[in-house]
């Protein structure tokens, strides 16, 4: 299974026949494994990594440090879940250190993010403070460099 996952990790679009050939198994078996991995939520999805700004669509990303008052029995989980469900929120992590949650928000404008923080996030019972950092430029995103495609510098024929 982990071999299959490694093959898909950086290219979710690898065709089934190719996967089957590499792993020396039938397409049917691979398909079944994929279903299992999806059902067990080991594979969470098959997103496409897009540089929206390059595509001409404005996106603003903010990294928000959030401090919370933990709640009895559930600790940080209930509030983290509540925050996670907002569409604007791309990622939520529980952190060690000076703050509790790192919330990554993506929206079309600064104004939209400000609205989200002031009206939604900061007003949640248990959120004691927020501190926002706006992303200026991505250099690498989820393991992928964002710059131009790298050329093959090798000679056409070499010993």
């Amino acid at each position: 299974m982990n071999e299959l996952l490694s093959l898909l990790e950086h290219d979710a679009r690898r065709p089934l026949p190719e996967l089957a050939a590499i792993l020396k198994r039938s397409e049917y078996e691979i398909e079944k494994d994929l279903k299992t991995l999806e059902n067990e939520r080991i594979i969470l999805g098959y997103n496409t990594l897009i540089d929206w700004n390059k595509a001409g669509t404005d996106k603003v990303t903010a990294f928000i440090e959030v401090n919370l008052t933990p709640q009895r029995d559930v600790g940080f989980d209930a509030i983290a879940d509540r925050i996670s469900r907002f569409d604007e929120v791309r990622s939520v992590y529980l952190m060690s250190g000076n703050f509790d949650l790192l919330v990554i928000v993506e929206e079309s404008s600064l104004q939209a993010i400000a609205d989200f923080i002031a009206q939604r996030l900061a007003t949640i019972d248990g959120v004691t403070s927020t501190r926002s950092h706006f992303m200026l430029r991505p250099y690498k995103k989820d393991g992928l460099l964002t710059g131009p495609k790298e050329r093959d510098h090798r000679l056409v024929v070499s010993p």
Binding site: R82, R85, F86, D87, R120, T123, I124, D125
Partner: protein, 391 residues
């Protein structure tokens, strides 16, 4: 000794037939592996931001009654929304009533308008409540069959044939459940002239208004020249914002009519639940992008199911609104009831016989495409399998 319940139940209520939709769902509910194209509600859950605003309201202790007419901030948002959508001006203080779904609005509207024996023109096929509500309000429901040649749009000529001295109200619902038909401006203008000529009040149920596909946006009946005063516009949150279970709708109309409806509403319902009203405020403030996303998804499925059914040889017109398609199944030689029953029993696909929506729905079935593409695909395959044995 047991009571004679037949004599104890009001004759008005006894005269109302039970809903033809429910019967099927009781059978389908017992089956495993059923694909349902029978459900008249979105398969999306309410967008989180709307749900969360309700949770927030509860945390803040917003649990009391509201004004009879609804939260002032909700009425203000509704007024703003209708201004933006159709350029219509409604005064939040006098022209708007927030109700428990459009269902309640329809009920109290008819009760406010009708004297015993007054007639209501109801184009069919139509939503199952229209006739029943008119009857329970003491009125007489006069069904007017819309014709397939007109893609199930009702025309002034159709209506003219049913007008009498007792006709008081015209009740229309476009985009239409169950046919997916829409009325464009020119079609509505014809009805507007008809309503004016016969001095009728018009109830326009526009709950599917946001679910209109293609380049031409939905035209509200109230926005036609001279029609705002005689039109009671009904709308709600169930379909566009996937909020069916919240039960929240609203009526917009002349202050006198809204005041009369409010009188019934305050004595019977008091107010719509505050939790749902708070969520509705959020839907109007921040829900548009989620609504648009859902509409885009329905549109995708609409094309898919239309092509699928046509390819299977079932004739149907391309629906332009709501999330239903209404194929003609007469080529199978089965009645719509038989078709729906046999399809459910042999292929485990649930849909609703057209006759549940009026006699002129006979020979048609309603398929809802408020379900995932994957399921629609499977349902089409099963219907294809079924048709192979019945044509």
């Amino acid at each position: 000794m047991s009571l004679d319940w037949n004599a104890r139940i009001s004759p008005t209520v006894r005269a109302v037939p039970p809903s033809g939709i429910r019967k099927f769902f009781d059978i389908a509910a017992e089956m495993e592996d059923v694909i349902s194209l029978g459900v008249g509600e979105p398969d999306f859950v309410t967008p989180w931001t709307i749900r969360e605003s309700c949770i927030y309201g509860l945390e803040q202790g917003r649990t009391a009654y509201t004004a009879n007419r609804g939260l002032p901030e909700l009425r203000a948002e509704i007024a703003r929304h209708k201004k933006e959508q159709h350029g219509l001006g409604y005064d939040p203080k006098t022209d708007i009533l927030v109700t428990v779904g459009v269902s309640e609005a329809l009920d109290i509207a008819l009760r406010a308008m009708l004297a015993p024996g007054d007639e209501v023109l109801i184009p069919e096929p139509c939503y199952v409540s229209y006739k029943a509500c008119a009857m329970m309000a003491g009125g007489v429901a006069v069904p007017v069959p819309a014709r397939i040649e007109n893609e199930f749009r009702v025309t002034a000529d159709d209506l003219e044939a049913h007008i009498t001295g007792r006709t008081r109200v015209l009740l229309i619902g476009y985009p239409n459940n169950p046919t997916g038909a829409v009325m464009r401006r020119e079609h509505l203008m014809e009805l507007a002239r008809f309503a004016e000529a016969h001095d009728l009040l018009v109830i326009s149920d526009e709950i599917y208004g946001d679910l209109t596909y293609g380049d031409e946006p939905h035209v509200s009946f109230a926005a036609l020249p001279g029609m705002q005063e005689r039109t009671l516009l009904l709308d709600g949150f169930s379909k566009a914002y996937a909020m069916t279970g919240w039960r929240i709708g609203y009526a917009l109309g002349a202050p006198e009519l809204i005041a009369a409806m409010t009188k019934i509403h305050q004595y019977t319902m008091l107010c719509a639940p505050i939790t749902a009203q708070l969520a509705a405020v959020e839907a109007l403030r921040r829900g548009a992008k989620y609504r648009d996303k859902m509409v885009a998804e329905y549109n995708l499925r609409r094309g898919f199911i239309y092509r699928g059914l046509t390819k299977l040889g079932l004739s149907c017109f391309e629906p332009k609104g709501a999330f239903y398609i209404f194929p003609d199944i007469r080529s199978t030689g089965l009645s719509d009831q038989e078709f729906a029953e046999k399809l459910l029993m042999s292929e485990h696909v649930a849909l609703v016989p057209g006759s549940a929506f009026g006699d002129c729905g006979q020979g048609y079935v309603r398929c809802s495409y408020a379900t995932s593409l994957e399921k629609i695909d499977e349902a089409l395959a099963r219907i294809g399998h079924f048709l192979a044995r019945h044509t």
